[in-house]
């Protein structure tokens, strides 16, 4: 709770690794509190990607030449780094996509083709990002299935007793986020999975907001699908991961057709490549995948336990500081939270607040954060969101607090 907690994380050194954190905006040092939207990149990642385009670039899986062999090897090594990071059994279960959104869309399409028919039910939660709502709605429309929603309470915690009531013999899949991007809630996904598995129902976990904050172990969770984006875990944008249990990935059809995902193509019949290539049609974002692997190595090097420790202290400190300000209300007060703070200042529109914070060099996000149902729950149009990661400091919280005081003064009439 104190500013001087004895942390085993060298923030000064870490911040040196992120060139953008030393930039100025409007002549002021950048205070980057929009990590929920995207995270910044350490030089190790930037240099890895830069180096690929300077010295190593070549299309993977197709070449007969030196560069292509090297690139293919690096790409497959990246797959293994991802596998290790999330503790999956095999690289055949790791598919590179464009990001969380495309991973969820892939499952909604492919799983839907195989397993969803008229009258079936799909369960999501009220706090999902639009990316974990809309693909399922599209599937429901296509197959005449129904979407069921687990509600959350005013603290921002899921109502598991309601969830147990929603699950029935028509339920085909459950899709929930492990951490909410707008409320910060860390959901008890293990419990959610166990309840579904007791009825043989598979679960997809949206890991977009947990991968940068906590321990991810797909084997311990026993989730059937897990999705995340590279850019939210200090890696490049345009690359993401879909983890799926082999038994499902073998059974469900590919969602895109093209090069590399096929075994044999004739105009009469095409047979598909084996896993994971069956789900990687076309030239993939291999520099992105390799950059992502570098980012995961960077995170591992700092140590997840150190990240959790620092962020916990930061979360406690920031919560206390925000709660101390008269007229500030935090939305999302779950017991178990990531370092995300959605809040409103009394009588100030979040957009106005965001505009002033911007000119102070403080980057936050305002609006609905792609979670309109969450805003509807609280009957508000949007919030100001400060989202922090391991490179954020207690001093940055102080600057945010100071900014809020200035805003209160500006709009005080």
């Amino acid at each position: 709770m104190t500013k001087n907690s004895n942390l085993s994380i060298d923030l000064k050194k870490i911040r040196q690794d992120f060139p953008i954190l030393n930039e100025k905006v409007y002549g002021k040092p950048l205070v980057y509190l929009d990590n929920g939207a995207t995270t910044q990149k350490p030089k190790q990642v930037i240099e890895t990607v830069d180096n690929i385009y300077r010295q190593k670039n070549s299309s993977i899986h197709r070449g007969i030449h030196y560069l292509s062999d090297q690139m293919t090897e690096a790409y497959e090594e990246a797959r293994d780094t991802v596998r290790e990071f999330i503790n999956a059994d095999s690289t055949t279960e790791i598919i590179f996509t464009h990001g969380t959104t495309s991973s969820i869309n892939a499952v909604a399409f492919s799983f839907g083709e195989k397993y969803i028919s008229e009258g079936d039910e799909i369960i999501v939660s009220e706090m999902e990002h639009h990316a974990n709502i809309v693909p399922w709605q599209m599937l429901c429309k296509r197959k005449h299935a129904h979407l069921k929603v687990i509600p959350f309470d005013d603290k921002g915690e899921l109502d598991l007793s309601e969830y147990k009531k929603l699950i029935n013999e028509k339920t085909r899949i459950v899709a929930v986020t492990q951490a909410s991007n707008s409320l910060g809630t860390i959901n008890p996904v293990k419990e959610i999975i166990d309840i579904a598995h007791a009825k043989d129902i598979p679960v997809l976990v949206d890991g977009a907001q947990i991968i940068q904050h906590g321990n991810v172990d797909v084997k311990a969770l026993d989730c059937d699908f897990f999705t995340f984006s590279g850019h939210k875990v200090f890696g490049p944008t345009g690359v993401g991961v879909l983890y799926g249990k082999e038994k499902y990935l073998e059974e469900i059809p590919p969602y895109q057709g093209g090069g590399d995902m096929v075994d044999c193509v004739t105009f009469k019949k095409t047979t598909y490549n084996e896993l994971p290539y069956k789900f990687e049609a076309g030239t993939t974002n291999y520099p992105g995948a390799i950059g992502l692997a570098e980012a995961l190595k960077y995170v591992k090097n700092i140590g997840i336990e150190h990240i959790i420790e620092h962020e916990h202290a930061l979360q406690q400190y920031t919560t206390k500081k925000l709660e101390e300000i008269d007229g500030v209300r935090i939305y999302g007060n779950a017991d178990n939270k990531i370092c995300v703070f959605s809040f409103l200042i009394e009588n100030v529109h979040p957009y106005d607040a965001g505009m002033v914070l911007d000119k102070l060099g403080i980057a936050v996000r305002t609006g609905t954060h792609c979670t309109q149902p969450v805003m509807e729950h609280f009957n508000i149009d949007g919030t100001i969101r400060a989202s922090m990661v391991f490179y954020n400091t207690f001093e940055e919280t102080d600057m945010l607090v100071e900014g809020i005081h200035r805003i209160k003064k500006m709009f005080a009439n």
Partner: protein, 124 residues
């Protein structure tokens, strides 16, 4: 530098507060320009060959920019409004507020102001 911006925003807040209240009958969904971030309401009236606007927003700085736009175009003829280019927004450093990605309703407001002018021109 921030102090300059503070002054600018203070001025916009003032303009926003001074903007005559839009009548309740126009503060409905029919007159709403829904940005994802903030809402803007706009109505126009035609009198003696000239267009007069009324606007409102739930965000006060946005309302201030709306007031600037209303001040600039109020009392002009439909032709002048249709042909005007709002370079001054750019010049005073508020261009980003009229970017399509900001989705605060202001860009759509400018479009709708011109549409009102086009409609009045066609009618008369």
């Amino acid at each position: 530098m921030f102090e300059d911006w503070l002054d600018k925003y203070d001025y916009l807040i003032e303009l926003g507060n001074e903007l005559p209240e839009i009548s309740d009958q126009f503060k409905t969904d029919e007159y709403l320009i829904n940005g994802c971030q903030s809402k803007v309401w706009l109505n126009a009236e035609y009198k003696d060959g000239k267009v007069y606007y009324q606007a409102d927003s739930d965000a006060i700085i946005v309302k201030g920019i709306a007031a600037l736009l209303v001040k600039t175009l109020n009392g002009e003829t439909p032709d002048d409004i249709i042909n005007t280019e709002l370079h001054f927004i750019d010049k005073i450093g508020l261009k980003q507020n009229l970017s399509p990605t900001r989705s605060n309703g202001l860009l759509a407001m400018v479009k709708k102001m011109k549409l009102f002018a086009i409609a009045y021109k066609a009618k008369n």
